[in-house]
Amino acid sequence: MDNILEIKNLGIDVIGEKSSRILVDNVSFNVKKRGSLGIVGESGCGKSITALSIMQLLDYPLKQTRGQILFEKDSKIIDLARVDKSYMKKVRGKEISMIFQEPMTALDPIFNIEYQIIEVLKFHTDLKKKDMKDKALEMLKKVGIPRAEVVMKNYPHQLSGGMLQRIVISMALICNPKLLIADEPTTALDVTIQAQILELINELRNVYETSVIMITHDLGVIAETCEDVIVFYAGQIVEETNVQELFNNTKHPYTKGLINSVTSLGDKTRPLYTIPGTVPIAGEVISGCKFVERCDSAMKICSIKEPDLIEVSKGHKCRCWLYDGRDVNE
């Protein structure tokens, strides 16, 4: 397998007493070995629960009901959706790690930093206690924490957001995982600290040869850190390509709108570009294309039939009737 992770036809539902609603529908994508994939989308589009399903962390009422999550472990391909809980525990933190948005809530307030980092090692390795401590210290230094010996004994409330995010990153990478999922890792941080953390993730990615999935709503973060990008809207992939192509040869009207609403900030002569309407509520049923009500190039067919995700040029997929070669007036 050239890819470390292959997601095939993933579907996630929210289970209700009488009926269920679809939150993520038929999502397929690959993460290349040592690659970095960005997932962009607005709140409620399903990007975070897709990540949680890779980690098998979905909890009732959310449930993965369809699809496969193929992950390569020890040159064997396993479907993470089919393995039992104890197996998954060995994968989490060792093979696949995750960084969450809020470093302030990701750590346990009643244990010190040392305990929390060593906990990962205790679970996944047979190191002696002293070696664990040394390794934790070494890792803290690698993520650029000054006075690491002191910080080891600190509790989360004594440290700033940027420091905590560095610690979370050190915990995520201490077992040298093959895949790192970063869910909005810099959204809660200031721009100057964001720049530091993005730089750190890029650097460590090269050192540890880890593949990265970067989930964000910020196109700037994508442009800075990713090679491949997928754009989510209302639980579906609407565009998928590499990062240059995404910005230089944007296809989907939604992606265009997102990019325009950021770039039109720089042009004072015209009003800001806006995508009309609001983001659909997660699980809302929309017939035809999910974006039709907000789209400025909507056609008749768009509200009748849902477009497929088709390849418009090599390596560039888009879900839009504008690029569908079929006769749309049939």
């Binding site: 721009v191 730089e199 709108g257 009003p271 806006t274």
Partner: protein, 321 residues
């Protein structure tokens, strides 16, 4: 020449830290530490900076939502800080604020009708008919419909809630509005809708606005003048074009460079600021920025630079100039 509507002079807001057996004051958090600026009528003045730099506290101190420790806030030739509670209450209709989080700034038990008419009932002596006329007018202005009137805040999306918040602040025809991070809690595609609304309202109603934000792209678009804050101090102030094209202070420079660019080919090794913002309880001696500055000199550790005019309405607090 436009008129100065608001002048802030040497504003200081300290929060005491108490502790010990007798709850004695042990130290102060110097959230705002001597800030001065002027806002002209009809302009949008932006305060930018990272979290904890005192930009929101400055905004709230101006309105006396937090009582400042020292300084003057002259609004329309009156010093706000010496007004009695009743006098202040009378002023409130002229000075309003829009908060960051529309999910927590609206009372969940009030309908839109009630939320919007409350400020009118508090400040004006209007008949029911006049109130409902004003409410309808404002609904139209902010892009909401009449059928929304009987709904509660939880029935609206974030963008719509922010529209309600804005409507509530401008329904009293204020002369001056402070917008404290009004779009930070919103999705990218909704942000621009709200920004357009604010710009339209400002033009139509001749509002003066202080726009508090950490988002430099947004600030560049919406404001006419910008003040950059760091650790309770204004370190640079100037017209928007001048400040963004020609940043003088090393911190402003680093801040602008930290913003991710949308062009993947321009990925660069940026000058990244090392370290973090020091604690405002114990700010560094001399220049507040000296602990992170790449151009630090001997003098920076000793004396705090004051804002110096370097021409073109551009002032900077740095020993380099």
């Amino acid at each position: 020449m436009s008129k100065t509507i608001l002048a802030v002079e040497n504003l200081k807001t300290y929060f005491p830290i108490k502790g010990g057996v007798f709850n004695k004051i042990r130290a102060y958090v110097r959230a705002v530490d001597g800030v001065s600026f002027e806002v002209q009528e009809g302009e949008t003045f932006a305060l930018v900076g990272e979290s904890g730099c005192g930009k929101s506290t400055t905004g709230r101190s101006i309105l006396r939502l937090i009582e400042p420790t020292e300084g003057k806030v002259i609004f329309n030739d009156k010093d706000i800080l010496v007004l009695s509670r009743e006098q202040l209450r009378m002023m409130r209709k002229d000075m309003q604020i829009v908060f960051q989080n529309p999910y927590s700034s609206l009372n969940p038990r009030m309908t839109v009708q009630k939320l919007l008419s409350e400020p009118l009932i508090n400040h004006f002596n209007l008949t029911d008919k006049e109130v409902s006329e004003r409410v309808n007018w404002i609904l139209d202005k902010v892009g909401l419909a009449k059928q929304h009137l009987n709904r509660y805040p939880h029935q609206f999306s974030g963008g719509q809630r922010q529209r309600i918040s804005i409507a509530r602040s401008i329904i009293t025809y204020p002369k001056f509005v402070i917008a404290d991070e009004p779009v930070s809690a919103l999705d990218v595609s909704i942000q621009s809708q709200i920004l357009n609304l604010l710009m339209d309202l400002q033009r139509d109603l001749g509002l003066t606005m202080i726009f508090i934000s950490h988002d430099l792209n947004v600030v560049r678009r919406i404001s006419s003048r910008v003040a950059v804050m760091y650790l309770g101090n204004i370190i640079e102030i100037g017209t928007t074009d001048e400040l963004f094209d020609n940043p003088m202070h090393p911190y402003t420079d680093a801040l602008l460079l930290s913003v991710p660019s949308l062009d993947p080919t321009k990925r660069k090794k940026r000058i990244i600021l090392q370290g973090e913002v020091p604690s405002p309880i114990n700010p560094p001696t001399g220049c507040v920025f000296q602990t992170r500055c790449s151009k630090r000199m001997k003098i920076c550790e000793e004396t705090r630079p004051s804002l110096k005019d370097i021409g073109n309405e551009h002032k900077v607090a740095c020993h380099l100039y």
